[in-house]
């Protein structure tokens, strides 16, 4: 139960901050997740959470309006099918969150860890 809750925390935070602040909150939240090293494989978790968060937001939008029409019209401008816009949207969230988490994780394991390690020993992977 606790694991599930923990796993849902990141997508929930990404979804809420996206709604409140905008797209740029995704790499910030992903970066913090990586820095704090709250999970194993933070890159994969953050990427999946980003895609899940934006996927859920798209589902909510679909309940309130014709997002397939939006997808077809906008993707059509670039000569793509509507589904491509959905996939690109999810990929963008995943890539932003995942790459930021990767950077955060590396910083946490590298320069930040070296600075913190002599005193606390934090920063080493268990």
């Amino acid at each position: 139960m606790r694991t599930t809750l923990v796993r849902l925390t990141l997508p929930t935070v990404i979804a809420l901050t996206t709604a409140a602040l905008g797209w740029w909150s995704v790499p910030i939240v992903g970066g913090i997740w990586g820095l704090l090293r709250l999970s194993e494989r933070p890159v994969a978790v953050a990427a999946a959470s980003g895609a899940l968060a934006w996927g859920v937001l798209l589902l909510i939008m679909a309940l309130t309006g014709p997002i397939t029409e939006v997808a077809d019209r906008v993707a059509g401008m670039f000569g793509l099918p509507g589904i491509a816009l959905v996939l690109i949207t999810l990929f963008l969230a995943a890539a932003l969150a995942g790459s930021a988490a990767g950077l955060g994780d590396s910083l946490s394991a590298g320069p930040l860890a070296r600075r913190a390690a002599p005193e606390t020993g934090r920063g080493e992977r268990p």
């Binding site: 797209w23 939008m61 890539a95 790459s99 950077l103």
Partner: protein
């Protein structure tokens, strides 16, 4: 560490991609944000069921009820409140269109899209549309009702812009990475100038005439672009029970005129690429508005009937926005407005209905000016004295406000000048002078009968329109409404010397001379852009190069044959597939082949004759013979007017201009004219029938090559001609393309080659004890492509169907089942 560098690099790349425009690709972050990006367009696609808002500037609450066609019925206490509410709902539905069109008029599109628009911006600034609109606006009395309504409309548009949330931003702004600019009151007048440009500038004959003169001499040019149409079917009835054919002998092609060629080059520069294209349009032209009225004695119900379908360039969103405005005791008007105007342009009130077609009068003249310095002029000579030139400095800016270019535009008292090779031409164009349209229309929409309507519109200057009118008393009328210059020598065909005031216009037509008819004996009146008055009735110069009156002939034929017209018949006539042009030309094709001795050379033409003989001369969608006739006409035009072709720089041959099909019809009666001779065959002198036979044979070969055998389905008209309605930014996925419509060149619902022109609005009104009306336009009320109201009317428009409109006196009169949304506006701070 290596993984961290990789992640960092990837992140930087993604953030750049998400936050910066890369080429044509907009920043992906804000675009794809699922809450506030393009996806949000889905959440604002439909109107909220009920909404209450406060907006500053209102004097009292306004109730706006949207019916199930998305039409707002605005119930206000004052006309200014109604104008403000209209501005608000139009901005809510069409914000990008509002901005795009004023920017086009002002030559400021490059501020939105960058340098790509600089050339068209410079061209439009040189014309001075916005400059003249600003001058008109400055001349308006701020306390006048029209000025107050323009100000209120501005407040309405800006109220919407001010409260615009991130979700509400139209798609086009998101794609361009732009934000809406505040609306200015003068922009309402910009639109009138833009319409004036659209309806009068490009159709000027001066360039076509000069090009023809350069090619075949003055006498032939005058015959190819006659001042009077060879077929007379005027809008002011001439007492004739059918068309009057006034076929004249065409003089043979003359010598090349080099002086005319030089002036034509300067004029080409003045007119710009858009007008250049227009001057070389195929004939019949795609501009093809129609309107007609039927008096009560010729209708089934005994009430006057009116129909109108102005043809314009088709766009999504549509050029029109449908609305109903009610101000108890003052105004109750229904129809279409141009987004930007605080009034209804075409429509009806409780007593009168009106519709317009373009008159096409000659309201532009060019003058060759004498200047003190051809490179850097400061003065021009007039009647022996040097006068100072007026200077206008125009600065062009890009997306980030950077200066892209600066132009100096010189004006004489006539208007702006343009130069080429040291030759300077000034232009007097009535559109750049005060229009009077807004004040007059404001009064006209309040008229209670035809007479009042006509009285209200007496002062309108441009764009001149043929207005048909009908009222509940059963009065029907038509008038070509606008100012018409009186040229010094009675003709507007010349580029005149600018150094004498004797070249200037000597006045304007008095109102009594305007083409006009009231309750004619024939019981109906129609206009289709044809020459308004038969020159045998009045030969005062009004213009030249009139389009062939094929549509007028057809609608008059239909109305003559129907003594009990119904609204359904009026609707049917708007897309009638019959063709007066085909009725005239087909017998000549058939006769030419019938009169020829059969041989191998005319075998294809004989096959074609059999197929053409099967044609009912109707352009229905399933018709499989119309294509053969059209290809034969293309061939006939090409082969007949080969003398008008020149070799362009790219090596291709092009006609300098194409005479009207009415002139070609005239030539059919001169079977031995030199014009029939094919210049490519030195040893033979072709005559009419040889050209007709060759054209028909070539048409059959082309049709077979392009569409297969005649009865295999490939010749169906709906596979060949389509309507194409492009989005303002021409994205195909936001457009409605390849729409199969009924109608062909010269029919009442003509299809042009590109399919980008057509009926921009169709309306039928019955002036009974209660006014009933039906309407449609190709598009939808919303500018949001995700909305069901974006293009919901197109299918019906394609089918030629009209919707019955709701015309309630008060909100409670609307059937609740047909209400989709109610917006209550109240005064706020």
């Amino acid at each position: 560490m290596k993984r961290g560098a990789l992640s960092g690099t990837l992140l930087v790349g993604l953030v750049i991609l998400a936050s910066q425009r890369i080429g044509a690709l907009p920043p992906l972050g804000p675009l794809l944000d699922p809450v506030n990006g393009v996806w949000a367009l889905a959440t604002i696609a439909e109107l909220p069921e009920r909404e209450e808002l406060q907006i500053p500037g209102l004097s009292a609450p306004v109730e706006i009820v949207f019916d199930d066609r998305g039409v707002p019925h605005i119930f206000a206490s004052t006309s200014a409140d109604a104008a403000q509410a209209l501005g608000y709902v139009v901005a809510r539905d069409r914000l990008f269109q509002l901005e795009f069109r004023w920017r086009v008029t002002a030559g400021r599109v490059s501020e939105l899209v960058g340098e790509a628009a600089l050339s068209s911006d410079r061209y439009l600034r040189r014309l001075g549309l916005a400059w003249s609109a600003e001058r008109d606006f400055a001349a308006l009395d701020p306390a006048s009702p029209v000025a107050r309504e323009i100000a209120a409309y501005t407040d309405g548009v800006n109220a919407w812009i001010d409260q615009l949330g991130r979700r509400d931003l139209p798609l086009e702004y998101r794609l361009l990475g732009a934000k809406p600019s505040p609306w200015e009151p003068a922009y309402s007048l910009y639109l009138i100038k833009l319409m004036g440009w659209d309806l009068t500038f490009a159709i000027t004959d001066d360039l076509r005439r000069l090009r023809l003169q350069a090619r075949v001499g003055r006498e032939a040019a005058d015959a190819l672009l006659p001042v009077n149409s060879p077929i007379q079917e005027p809008i002011q009835p001439n007492g004739s029970d059918g068309p009057r054919f006034d076929f004249r002998v065409l003089p043979p092609p003359g010598e090349i005129d080099r002086e005319a060629a030089q002036i034509a080059r300067t004029l080409e520069r003045a007119l710009g690429s858009l007008a250049l294209e227009a001057s070389n349009l195929p004939e019949p032209t795609p501009w093809a508005s129609n309107n007609w009225v039927v008096a009560p004695e010729r209708t089934a119900a005994g009430y006057a009937l009116l129909a109108g379908d102005p043809h314009l360039g088709l766009t999504l969103p549509s050029i029109w926005y449908e609305a109903h405005i009610v101000v108890p005791g003052d105004l109750d008007v229904y129809g279409v407005t141009l987004p930007a105007l605080p009034l209804i342009v075409l429509g009806f009130n409780r007593d009168v209905a009106w519709s317009m077609t373009n008159t096409g009068a000659d309201i532009i003249d060019y003058y060759e000016e004498e200047l003190d310095d051809r490179e850097r002029p400061t003065r021009y000579r007039l009647d022996g004295e040097w006068r100072p030139l007026e200077l206008r400095i125009e600065s062009f800016r890009g997306v980030d406000g950077e200066e892209l270019a600066t132009d100096t535009i010189y004006h004489t008292h006539r208007g702006p000048m343009v130069s080429d090779d040291g030759r300077w031409l000034s232009m007097r164009w009535l559109v750049l002078e005060e229009s009077g349209q807004e004040e007059s229309l404001r009064a006209a929409v309040r008229a209670t009968n035809v007479d009042e309507w006509l009285g209200a519109m007496e002062e309108v200057s441009t764009p001149a329109q043929n207005v048909v009118l009908a009222d509940r008393q059963g009065t029907v009328a038509i008038r070509s409404n606008g100012k018409y210059p009186l040229h010094p020598d009675g003709s507007g065909l010349e580029v005149r010397p600018g150094n004498t005031s004797a070249s200037d216009w000597v006045g304007f037509w008095p109102l009594q001379k305007y083409p006009f008819s009231l309750n004619p004996e024939q019981g109906y009146l129609a206009s289709t852009n044809q020459q308004p008055i038969d020159p045998e009735v009045d030969d005062t110069y009004l213009g030249s190069g009139w389009p062939a009156p094929w549509r007028a002939m057809r609608i008059n034929q239909l109305l003559r044959a129907d003594s009990a017209v119904t609204p359904q018949a009026m609707r049917r006539y708007q897309t009638d597939p019959g063709s007066a042009r085909a009725d005239l030309f087909v017998p000549f094709f058939l006769g030419a082949v019938a009169g020829a001795i059969p041989n191998d050379e005319n075998a294809a033409a004989r096959d074609a004759t059999r197929l053409l003989g099967e044609w009912d001369r109707r352009y229905t969608r399933e018709n499989e013979r119309a294509v053969l006739f059209e290809y034969a006409m293309n061939e006939l035009v090409r082969r007949t007017w080969d003398e008008l072709e020149v070799t362009r720089d790219d090596g291709r041959r092009r006609r300098v201009a194409t005479p009207s099909t009415a002139v070609l019809a005239s030539l059919l009666h001169q079977p031995e004219s030199e014009w029939w001779d094919d210049r490519a065959t030195d040893d033979t002198k072709e005559m009419r029938d040889a050209v007709l036979i060759a054209s028909l044979g070539a048409a059959l070969e082309r049709a077979r090559a392009e569409h297969g055998e005649p009865d295999e389905g490939g010749w169906r008209w709906d596979r060949i001609r389509h309507a194409n309605i492009y989005h303002l930014l021409r994205f195909p996925s936001l457009s409605a393309l390849d729409l199969p419509i009924q109608g062909g060149p010269g029919t009442l619902n003509p299809s042009s080659g590109s399919g980008t022109h057509g009926a921009s609005w169709r309306m039928v009104v019955e002036l009974g004890p209660e006014v009933s009306a039906w309407s449609i336009y190709p598009g939808g009320q919303s500018g949001n492509p995700a909305s069901s109201r974006y293009d919901d009317r197109i299918q019906k428009w394609v089918e030629g169907e009209l919707d019955p409109v709701l015309f309630p006196r008060r909100p409670a009169d609307i059937d609740p089942g047909r209400v989709t949304s109610v917006l209550s506006l109240s005064p706020g701070r």
